[in-house]
């Protein structure tokens, strides 16, 4: 890879879905109404299965905590006409708000829902990896707030060496579109991306409709 690329690590197998990370992010950045830079998706699936003479439920669910994945190939950055989206030396994808004209084309191009429109400012916003905290030697607010310690950060290459390359768990898309800088330890019931038997159970809670 060569260049430095910071990445998130998320242990889905131990996540309790408490959404403290989501709240901590919102609290730290004081993000506007409807904006969730980090969102916890409730993925669910299953059906009734026949067990002898009885039909029994075979349902399963797990959580995926997701912010911007600061992708290696960020489609948002490539699509922005104004060059308002940049990738810094740590591989963090950032928005320069004073260059954003609010066309929202980046929003269409991001398969992780990371780009979120702030109606009050009239510009796009997104996860900054808490770069101000990083400069102080601290970790992002979502990570330090997590009571289950399922979130962490590190160099993408090192995380992949330690945990293996796992970055397309449902409801994530296939990784080849953007090469997301994230490693997910899958839940035992996890399904792969583009699985047609599963659904997101808390869409109303997480969607940004601004």
């Amino acid at each position: 890879m060569g260049k430095k690329q910071l990445a998130f690590y998320f242990d889905s197998s131990s996540c309790s879905g408490c959404k403290t990370c989501q709240v901590a992010c919102k609290d730290k950045h004081d993000s506007g109404e409807g904006i969730l830079w980090r969102r916890v998706y409730e993925a669910a699936g299953g059906d009734w299965v026949k067990d002898g003479n009885a039909w029994v439920p075979n349902v399963y669910s797990y959580y995926i905590s997701m912010a911007c994945n600061h992708c290696v190939e960020p489609l948002c950055l490539y699509s922005c006409p104004n060059n308002a989206i940049v990738k810094n030396d740590d591989g963090i994808v950032l928005i320069e708000k004073d260059r954003c004209m609010g066309c929202r084309y980046c929003e269409w191009n991001c398969p992780y829902g990371a780009l979120q429109f702030d109606k009050s400012q009239g510009v796009m916003t997104k996860c900054t990896f808490c770069d101000d905290y990083l400069a102080e030697g601290k970790k992002p607010s979502c990570i330090t707030a997590c009571p289950m310690r399922v979130l962490d950060i590190g160099e993408l290459e090192e995380l992949e060496k330690e945990h293996g390359k796992s970055n397309e768990i449902f409801p994530m898309p296939r990784a080849h579109y953007t090469q997301p800088a994230i490693v997910v330890k899958p839940h035992r019931d996890a399904r792969m991306a583009e699985n047609v038997e599963m659904k997101i159970d808390n869409l109303e809670e997480i969607k940004n409709e601004q």
């Binding site: 998706y41 997701m66 004209m101 066309c103 398969p111 992780y112 009239g122 409801p171 898309p173 997101i200």
Partner: protein, 289 residues
């Protein structure tokens, strides 16, 4: 469909209709070249001025889509990878070339008197603009858009709206005194162009359907209101048959036959295209989250 996408509906339709007027007028001009009809047709070059007004309106509408329009000064900063940047550049070039054509017709400015060359340049840029527009929407993670139905749909709008708009301009410009009897080849050419666009539009329905029926997304596929589909189809059928009836009747007459029918047909087809485009935007959904 987000409310902020309505300006895009009108912007794309108006700019595609303008591209159609410029391209088709050039093609028709080729057909009638070296004949006495040329002077009749070329004297009535109002379509350049109408095109310029349409592009200015389209550009103005496009700003309503932006929440920070003052930052659009940076919009050409990413020609290297952004289709939107390329679209804005091409649209600016297209508008500029139409303005040059207008200047050449109106003022006969020395140095730009070679109108056909500017017309060729404008027509080519118009084609390029619509191709770039289609590529802009063919986003890899958007299954409903990322197929050739988008490309065909946009080019269909060029020839459908552009063809009928040119007919309207011809009728409005000519009035009763216009030599419609002599201009039958021109009108036939326009009718053929519009008919081909209609056939392409009908065939494209199946291609578009394959895109929206993709089932691998984690988000539920959106739906456009049923009433939009009804208006889209009914207005389209009514507009096309009215136009066909008028064309048939006009062929039997030497003078202009009931121009109101052409205006009404144009209005019906334009409204149909508005709802068709709104359905296109409403069916946006992406793979992933």
């Amino acid at each position: 469909m987000n409310s902020n996408e309505w300006p895009l509906v009108f912007f794309t339709l108006l700019s595609q209709m303008t591209a159609g007027i410029i391209i088709i007028s050039f093609i028709v001009g080729l057909f009638v070249r070296n004949s006495e009809l040329l002077s009749d047709f070329e004297l009535k070059r109002n379509y350049f001025f109408v095109s310029l007004v349409l592009m200015v309106i389209a550009l103005a509408i496009s700003f309503f889509h932006l929440s920070a329009p003052l930052q659009s000064v940076f919009a050409l900063a990413n020609l290297q990878t952004s289709w939107l940047s390329r679209e804005i550049f091409c649209m600016s070039m297209f508008t500029f070339l139409i303005a040059v054509c207008c200047a050449a017709v109106k003022f006969g400015i020395p140095g730009i008197s070679g109108l056909p060359y500017w017309h060729i340049a404008a027509a080519f840029t118009g084609l390029l603009l619509v191709w770039i527009m289609a590529r802009l929407y063919m986003i890899p993670i958007v299954p409903a858009w990322n197929n050739y139905a988008t490309m065909i749909g946009f080019f269909t709008s060029i020839f459908l709206l552009g063809g009928v708009a040119l007919l309207v301009i011809l009728v409005v410009t000519g009035g009763k005194s216009f030599p419609f009897d002599q201009l039958k080849p021109v009108m036939w050419a326009l009718i053929v162009v519009v008919s081909l666009a209609v056939v392409a539009k009908l065939l494209n329905v199946f291609l578009f359907q394959s895109g929206i029926s993709f089932t691998g997304g984690s988000l539920p596929p959106p739906e456009a209101p049923f009433s939009w589909h009804v208006i889209h189809v009914i207005f389209f059928v009514a507009g096309f048959f009215l136009l066909a009836y008028w064309a048939y009747s006009q062929m039997q007459h030497t003078e202009l036959y009931r121009p109101q029918m052409v205006y009404l047909s144009f209005a019906l087809l334009f409204v149909s295209e508005i709802f068709g485009r709104a359905i296109f935007y409403a069916l946006y959904y992406r793979l992933g989250m």
